[in-house]
């Protein structure tokens, strides 16, 4: 579904992404691990079109989208969340999701309304639907970030540290939502530091360090990899 080839992003002399190759199959749930500054969020920004790459190509369902705008990619089926939530603070929770449910698809407001209510139910935000997004606590902001991404009806969902800052019980609730999304056939790529949560959803893991992929395989294989344990987990091989 997604093919990233020789992708590079340099900011002057700083090589944040330096020749990453990555494929994601339809229906797969891929986890991305890596220390802070490894280039994980930059990789997402390149895939979603928020940044332009220095070199390399990105293909979605065989189509080259390397230079496409973010909104064109959304129409192509890419939805994403940000590590730091990007709510529309002066709009209500309902309207936040209504934005994503109407803009990408071109649906009218009245037509999109039932779908927005379904997504709010799924993300356990129905009771907050009239609350201004600027007034939400962190957990609900994270849920809203997910709900907004789901509003675009994504076939490929990019999740950037969606579980960061959540308590154990909140994390369990989030995992249940992600399992539902996965069961609907949505392909998931999830950047996360909370490994125990990630491996409950991910069927494959890759590890990014200093702009390069250093490991790729099943969660068991990757977590047992000596280089990963040394570089990322800080466990000597």
């Amino acid at each position: 579904m997604l093919e990233v080839s020789q992708l590079k992003k340099h900011f002057g002399a700083l090589k944040v992404i330096d020749g990453v190759n990555l494929s994601v199959a339809r229906g797969e749930a891929l986890g991305i691990l890596g220390p802070n500054g490894a280039g994980k969020s930059t990789l997402f920004n390149l895939i979603s079109g928020n940044l332009s790459p220095t070199a390399g190509t990105i293909r979605l369902n065989g189509e080259d989208i390397t230079r496409a705008s973010p909104w064109t990619r959304v129409r192509g089926g890419i939805g994403r969340t940000f590590q730091i939530p990007h709510p529309f603070v002066h709009l209500s929770v309902f309207e936040n999701v209504l934005v994503s449910a109407t803009q990408a698809s071109g649906r009218g407001i009245a037509v999109a309304r039932p779908e927005v209510n379904r997504i709010l139910d799924l993300c356990q935000l129905s009771h907050r639907s009239r609350t201004l997004a600027g007034d939400l606590p962190l957990l609900d902001l994270k849920r809203l970030e997910l709900a907004k991404a789901l509003g675009t009806s994504p076939r490929l969902l990019l999740l950037d540290e969606i579980a960061g800052g959540l308590t154990n019980s909140e994390c369990v609730a989030l995992l249940a939502i992600l399992e539902t999304i996965k069961s609907e056939g949505v392909t998931i790529v999830w950047i996360e530091h909370i490994v125990h949560a990630l491996i409950k959803v991910a069927t494959r893991l890759v590890v990014l360090a200093e702009g390069n992929l250093i490991a790729n395989g099943t969660p068991e294989t990757v977590m047992a990899d000596a280089k990963v344990r040394d570089l990322y987990l800080g466990v000597e091989a």
């Binding site: 129409r75 940000f82 529309f88 002066h90 709009l91 309207e95 109407t102 803009q103 990408a104």
Partner: protein, 330 residues
């Protein structure tokens, strides 16, 4: 209590509109002139708020389109001899064309670069206007008495006719912006106002909506330029392209009222004209006071007076929101 204030606010808005509708029959010519000026500024403030507050296109060259509208109208009505009913839409069409060209030049610029770039374009156009043959050069030209008489044989009649036109344009501007903001496109604009990066990944074509705001506001600004020309009875580069009158004061109105809200320009216009009437005899002190108020508002209430009030009230006076259940405005 809160909903009581909202009801009171809505009643005050309705009462204000009724007063404006009966003004030609109820007020002296001097008050009518003041109201005409205030409504012209309100239209400009609502349009600049649409472009800068919602569209995130921070231009400070809006005065260019006031001047283009004025000069195009003069050219069509006086030099080409076209009837008013033709000259007016033709002037709007010229402003639309200029708006498209200026946006094509400036659309890659952002923030301070866009502000300065739009200012430079406006000043250049003013210099061009001062050299146009047939438009009176640097000192400008007056509209002939026979043209002004088409709005009324006597001055009070003329003032009433122009006032009604200005009121109609202000109401039309308000209704168009309200309808736009209630639509799917307006929802995208509200998202763009709050978070441009987030709006783009929610599917908002930010490039298109920013362009649409700028280009579609231009002919309406040009129309206000025509009406200002009719009020003044003349065109001149300095007055028609006045940055202070058509951009700086407008910016003051929107900033103190509340950028990115429908209520902000209305409140800002009221405050601006109140201050002007109270302080205009104090010369530069008046301008210093306006500047000081702007700085205080930006520092301590960046969402403007309406932003402060809205936080207390919890809802808008002019409903734009989409309700989860009913679909109506709440």
């Amino acid at each position: 209590m809160t909903s009581g204030f909202v009801i009171f606010g809505r009643l005050a808005l309705a009462a204000g509109l009724i007063c404006l509708c009966i003004a030609p029959f109820a007020f002296t010519p001097a008050v009518l002139v003041l109201l005409t000026q205030a409504l012209s500024m309100l239209s400009l403030a609502m349009l600049w708020n649409l472009v800068a507050g919602y569209g995130n296109v921070m231009v400070i060259g809006q005065h260019a389109f006031v001047g283009i509208g004025a000069y195009a109208f003069y050219g069509f009505a006086m030099l080409a001899g076209l009837h008013m009913a033709v000259a007016l839409p033709a002037a709007m069409a010229v402003t639309l064309a200029f708006g498209s060209m200026v946006y094509a030049m400036l659309y890659r610029l952002r923030t301070a670069y866009l502000a300065v770039g739009s200012w430079v374009v406006a000043e250049t156009l003013m210099l061009v206007a001062s050299r146009l043959p047939g438009f009176g050069g640097g000192s400008g030209a007056s509209l002939p008495a026979n043209l002004l008489r088409t709005f009324g044989a006597r001055v009070p009649e003329r003032l009433s006719t122009i006032y009604i036109m200005v009121l109609a344009v202000a109401v039309l501007t308000f209704v168009l912006i309200w309808a736009l903001m209630r639509s799917r496109i307006g929802l995208g604009l509200a998202a763009l106002r709050d978070n441009e990066e987030g709006a783009a990944v929610a599917g908002v074509n930010t490039r298109l909506v920013r362009a649409a705001c700028f280009i579609l506001a231009a002919p309406m600004v040009g129309l206000v330029g025509v009406l200002v020309t009719l009020q003044e009875g003349r065109i001149s580069p300095v007055a028609s392209f006045s940055m202070l009158d058509w951009t700086i004061y407008v910016l003051f109105i929107v900033v103190i009222g509340g950028l990115g809200s429908l209520e902000g320009p209305i409140i800002g216009t009221l405050v601006f004209f109140l201050l002007r009437e109270l302080l205009q005899d104090y010369g530069t002190l008046y301008l210093i006071t306006l500047g000081a108020i702007s700085i205080l508002i930006v520092l301590f209430a960046p969402t403007g007076l309406w932003g402060l009030a809205r936080r207390k009230l919890g809802r808008d006076l002019i409903p734009l929101t989409h309700d989860p259940k009913t679909g109506g405005a709440s």
